[in-house]
Symmetry: C3
């Protein structure tokens, strides 16, 4: 057994807490393979390879028909890391034992999966095989929190709508419904946000989270800032706001969120760098891209203003990784968090992880999160990460720095699990 394999085996036995996902706790596992292949990673890649969106998203087609159609294009991505996730989960969770899954044999896998997924406790089986104990959710501010096990599925308050979509009347209606507060001005908005935080805290929320566009540069805007006040009045009246008015309101709300995180001792996950709807003709959730020209320096005012708030930060592109490493090296409240979306591929994970392990204090590296929509993906995504982590530890910790195998395992375990305990649960 090579050193990398030894390290992988040790890391693979560590029970996981997944600190970021999009699991629906009322329907966490899949019912058919269509739930798995409907994941945007597959639909957008099939579309990119040539499949018309209309074929993928035609209303009313059965799950089996959807899968049949996708397999006309999925051979174009059978080499990709995204496909390797599906192959590995088919083997590990569904009992598939072939080499390839393609249009010649998908139907037998479909039926095999159907049998498995209809078993009682399929959810428990998946969790158990994955060795995952707790999974963070992505909750809209008005999600119900009382109809699932918040120990297993940990609430996380997602705040994009509050920062970016207050101009939509339905957002304000949802706030009113969730809080009972008819927001008429910034004071009311502040009160409503406070209500939401308290509500989430009651249900053991462990993080506040948001995804941010490249241009975002948070500034302190005072509670009673007159420009923000008047912009908000105009927004309430349905007036068309200027770009700077919109930004002013976004920054006002964002600063309040940071204040509440400070008050409630809640980590604030920042996922930085995404532009929404760059390709509006794309499939559902397959329309977002980015402009990599932003800098962590845009966050310096925030990071200086809230020294007691922990900011686990994810960046969308690998070219931002060194800034993340270096801001985490200097700022006590910056934590490097996982490998997000377009950077969640082996080439970038390896490069980015090595740089983090070189230079960031070991208590400030959160190795990974699944970002999964369905439980079945947690296993293959984490396996991919653990293989890379084992490889990086073998190369940089054992071979380059001459530290021991047990040192590497201890470090890897902290990166994989320990820091989730200490950062989100204050457990050392």
């Amino acid at each position: 057994m090579t050193l990398t394999q030894t390290l992988f085996e040790a890391l693979d036995s560590v029970p996981l807490i997944d600190p970021h996902s999009h699991i629906n706790p009322r329907s966490p596992a899949s019912e058919t393979i269509a739930d798995l292949l409907g994941y945007h990673y597959y639909t957008e890649l099939a579309h990119s390879a040539g499949m018309p969106r209309e074929q993928i998203e035609q209303p009313g087609i059965t799950p089996r028909e959807k899968v049949a159609r996708l397999f006309e294009y999925l051979h174009h991505i059978d080499h990709s890391v995204q496909w390797s996730w599906f192959l590995e989960l088919s083997r590990e969770l569904l009992g598939f034992d072939g080499d390839r899954i393609d249009k010649s044999n998908w139907e037998s896998l479909y039926d095999l999966a159907l049998t498995k997924m209809q078993q009682a406790h399929w959810e428990d089986q998946v969790l158990s095989k994955t060795n995952v104990q707790r999974i963070f959710l992505t909750n809209d501010f008005d999600d119900p929190l009382d109809d699932f096990d918040t120990h297993r599925y940990v609430p996380c308050l997602r705040t994009d709508d509050l920062v970016f979509h207050l101009a939509m009347p339905q957002t304000r209606d949802r706030i009113a419904k969730a809080t009972g507060i008819q927001v008429g001005n910034l004071q009311g908005l502040h009160q409503a946000i406070g209500f939401l935080f308290e509500h989430f805290v009651k249900y053991q929320v462990r993080a506040c989270a948001i995804s941010l566009p490249p241009w975002f540069t948070p500034k302190k805007i005072a509670m009673d800032d007159p420009v923000a006040q008047s912009a908000f009045q105009r927004l309430m009246c349905g007036s068309e706001l200027s770009q700077s008015e919109r930004e002013c309101i976004s920054y006002w709300v964002f600063w309040r969120l940071a204040e509440f995180c400070d008050d409630m001792k809640l980590p604030f996950d920042l996922m930085i760098g995404v532009n929404r709807k760059v390709y509006p003709g794309g499939v559902y959730q397959g329309q977002d891209l980015y402009d990599s020209r932003w800098s962590m320096i845009q966050y310096s005012e925030l990071l200086n203003a809230f020294p007691n708030v922990k900011f686990p930060i994810s960046v969308l592109a690998s070219v931002s990784n060194q800034e993340l490493v270096d801001y985490a090296w200097i700022f006590p409240n910056v934590i490097a968090n996982g490998h997000w979306w377009y950077s969640n591929t082996p080439t970038f994970i390896k490069h980015d992880l090595r740089a983090r392990i070189d230079a960031i204090p070991r208590n400030k590296i959160i190795g990974y999160y699944s970002d999964a929509y369905k439980l079945e993906f947690i296993l293959p995504k984490y396996k991919m990460f653990k293989r890379i982590l084992a490889n990086v530890l073998a190369e940089s910790i054992v071979c380059e720095r001459g530290l021991s195998e047990s040192f590497a395992i201890e470090l890897g375990t902290q990166i994989l699990r320990g820091n989730v305990d200490s950062i989100f649960f204050n457990q050392e």
Copy 2:
């Protein structure tokens, strides 16, 4: 034989089509070594290492004298990948069998080469040893197309002059001469461009191509846009145009090119990122550099507007590679194309290629083109690429993803050759 070697052997036997070069079809091969060492990669590096430009470019010196002078400096680059191309072609094509070529032995190589190059069918010998079947050219819009074999040398319409140099009277004269149209306004210009496309199509053009500066952000400008009209009138009168007028005309022309590509079903090669004449004191073709601060998002309007045009895209710097990967992942019409110029070195090729193979549909990766000015360079440049491709396939496809050797060979063959067939020749 290692896995990488096995894969390399398999890939090395694939007959090539080189989808981008600067070969002159009337003089495709070299007559002396001066034609090879006159390649800007060598003159600019010799200059960079200390050789005065005047020594390199002194008018009237013989080829032998030029080579003699260059060898006073070429030892400064004998470790470089660019030099390895010359060494490999000297061995494989010219029969050189030493370890080093330097000022102690260049003259015997010079004479050896002279004999070879004067042989009948030297061109055919080079093509045959290189195993290349067809080579794309870079044709000015007014290049003759009827005096060479367009099956072997595939016309490609290069459009930099149309987009950027209409203000030069000689460009407009060349248009008049090539099309018989005296362009007086945008309507006339449109007609002339249409004439050029039809002319090239008659000669089996397979791509339209352009190199673009970092600031370029194509916008739709309507055929009869009044601002463009009046800017063009002023240009025709020889008035000094403002920056925004120049850009307006460039964008107008560029949009028309995309429309013609759409009409004629022609791929549009975009080579993005170069600033011209950053070092005006440099040798011929050794003056261009770049500003890496640009983003693929500058092309979102274009990519959305022309869903049926295939855009094989090259980027100048490796920091742009992840954006290219991710835009190719999402946009069906974005194709990752080769490793251009300053990124055509092993460190960047390996990093960039791995990231592409991780995540882009396999039918949208064009592995390589030579960019060569003389046929002899196609062999060593492609060999370099094939070694890296074999290594990346061994590491990421076979070792990491656990797929078979034959799978890796099939994938490598598609990247090396198959996608050129399907993208430029519509052959699956």
Copy 3:
């Protein structure tokens, strides 16, 4: 012995000249371990890991108490490359022979070090074990130069204060004191700067150096530029200058420095990319970060204007490395210099060094400098670099390019030492 080890052994026997440090020639070596662990790399990382700044910087604590406090946090960085430097110097220079240094055993190391450091000739011992012959300093313009051995400790004129801090009255007082010139206008300032250059040249200065922020874009501003003149008059009166006035003065001074470097044939080290005091709450020297969005193109006017000045250039972030490589490839006066600060970690060194060795003339790569504040750090930092250099040479020169072991050693020796001789001492 593997190829990498063979290469390392050969490189490790090369006597060094360290072309950039912050050594104080009057107190070059450490007196206690507190001098080593007081290095900002450790204090800032301990702070980042959770240690309050006040505990680190409390006035009046003894060196032993400071070290005791730091070890309450240093286990958080025991995996890092920065820590590996301390471990290696403890073994190689102090005689420590354990596996870990932590709060259980630091005190015995402290005492061991104390004995060593109090020995006569500790400085000489360190230099001898490090095999370093000469070390460049970082001298303020008013540093005394007559009280140390300028052969061993080579003066280097650091000019940040002249370019950026003339608005501070103490800077102008220091100029007056150092030069005897009461600067009243730009003519006087020019005279004073000329005096400083002549003074440094008298003491065998070998380089002028400066660190520059990302926004810096040097422009030629004439000696008697009226805007600069009036801005300088306002500065002398203590008026608050506008951003553009401040920049005008900075560019005026910077251009004069380049002119004097040209006159005096002095290399001008540019260290590009740092923003000062991004985290003002940080420990001493642990407050600076950066915005990686800058481009070498900002220096094109400078590089074109001074073809005879050698510019050894360091960049702060690895995303700038390809621009540095490519500008060094094209501009004869651009030299790639070391791996600076946040890029001085193995992941970035390896990636950046490979790219340099691929494509830059071999006489224009200065491999490394220590940037050390205390002599003891030169050994472990250079060892780290030599291991990576040996590895890169093994992989890219011997394995990929098929060149010989002796070729690789010769190349590595030039990168490590020879180019320092030729670039700073004009010795081939």
